[in-house]
């Protein structure tokens, strides 16, 4: 995934996108304007593809949380390879929203424990967990409530799929994959 020093030409990239049913892909630094643009573009694309409103809403919600997570937690770096990315893809009746961003190795266990805990809960337990977490949450200095992962799992009804790729002694790349069924 991180072997980006390839010699892919534009046509090959297009072919890969078509083969993998990638609707939209973005790599670069994220800010609120970028989030708005990506959301608007994806909304239009999903409407064009006649995706039903309930599914579109779930996708919008999960994208919004995923994109804003990156905005708030991305690390500034001069290294293009480690820029955050966002992909939305579709295979038949399944959508995938994938985000990637660099994370400090020292923070991996916090993120991992949080997601593992969420994945261990069923929908009813998630609902309770969300309610308690929201009551106790304090808006952080980067403007987050610490509820994004729980909300994603509730909205999709699926487990959060994730991976950490170690880049060096200090940093890893964190990939989060949300699966949303079109129903």
């Amino acid at each position: 995934m991180l072997q980006t020093k390839t010699s892919l030409n534009i046509y090959e990239i297009f072919a890969i996108m078509a083969d993998n049913n990638i609707l939209l892909i973005y790599q670069g630094m994220f800010d609120q304007d970028m989030v708005k643009s990506v959301l608007t573009m994806t909304e239009k694309k999903l409407k064009q593809d006649n995706v039903m409103e309930p599914t579109r809403r779930k996708l919008f919600n999960i994208m919004m949380e995923g994109l804003q997570n990156i905005c708030k937690h991305q690390l500034r770096t001069a290294d293009e390879v480690a820029n955050p990315f966002f992909i939305i893809g579709r295979k038949d009746q399944v959508f995938n929203i994938v985000t990637g961003n660099m994370i400090e190795n020292s923070k991996i266990s916090i993120v991992k424990d949080k997601i593992d805990h969420i994945n261990s809960l069923n929908q009813e337990e998630l609902k309770e967990y969300y309610k308690t977490a929201r009551l106790n949450s304090v808006i952080s200095n980067v403007g987050g409530a610490g509820l994004g992962f729980i909300d994603m799992a509730r909205k999709s009804g699926n487990k959060l799929d994730y991976k950490f790729y170690e880049l060096n002694d200090h940093y890893s790349y964190f990939i989060l994959n949300n699966t949303i069924n079109n129903n």
């Binding site: 919004m64 804003q68 409530a145």
Partner: protein
């Protein structure tokens, strides 16, 4: 006393927030995913402070949201808790109206969860 005016226009990532003194009605509608929720909602809490010291009854608080992010979800809870406080303090007659699109189960569920949490007359209304 002049009531503090609350008239915030909506954008693609922030909601429209208005208070109509004639109907004594507060309305928060649209999309709430601001970059900085604390900063964005500051005028609303200032207005609520002003409103608290000079409540006219009965008052209606309408929520007609299309999308809101998790940080906004926390802020909305803070607003509702403030309303609960107002209700219990002076027997103020406050009603909350939570609107949801009839095909939006998540928005209905969000309303139900808020309703369980605060002791204020709370109506869930589909459209």
């Amino acid at each position: 006393m002049q009531m503090l005016i609350l008239d915030i226009c909506g954008t693609e990532d922030t909601p429209e927030i208005k208070y109509n003194p004639a109907g004594n009605c507060f309305t928060l509608s649209g999309r709430s995913l601001p970059e900085d929720v604390t900063e964005f909602y500051k005028p609303v809490f200032e207005w609520l402070e002003e409103f608290s010291s000079n409540v006219s009854n009965p008052a209606t608080f309408q929520f007609k949201l299309e999308y809101f992010n998790t940080a906004s979800s926390k802020i909305i809870l803070d607003i509702l808790m403030k309303l609960e406080e107002l209700c219990s303090e002076n027997n103020n007659k406050i009603t909350i109206e939570w609107y949801y699109n009839e095909s939006d189960d998540d928005m209905l569920e969000a309303g139900e969860e808020y309703k369980e949490l605060v002791e204020v007359p709370f109506n869930l209304i589909s459209y």
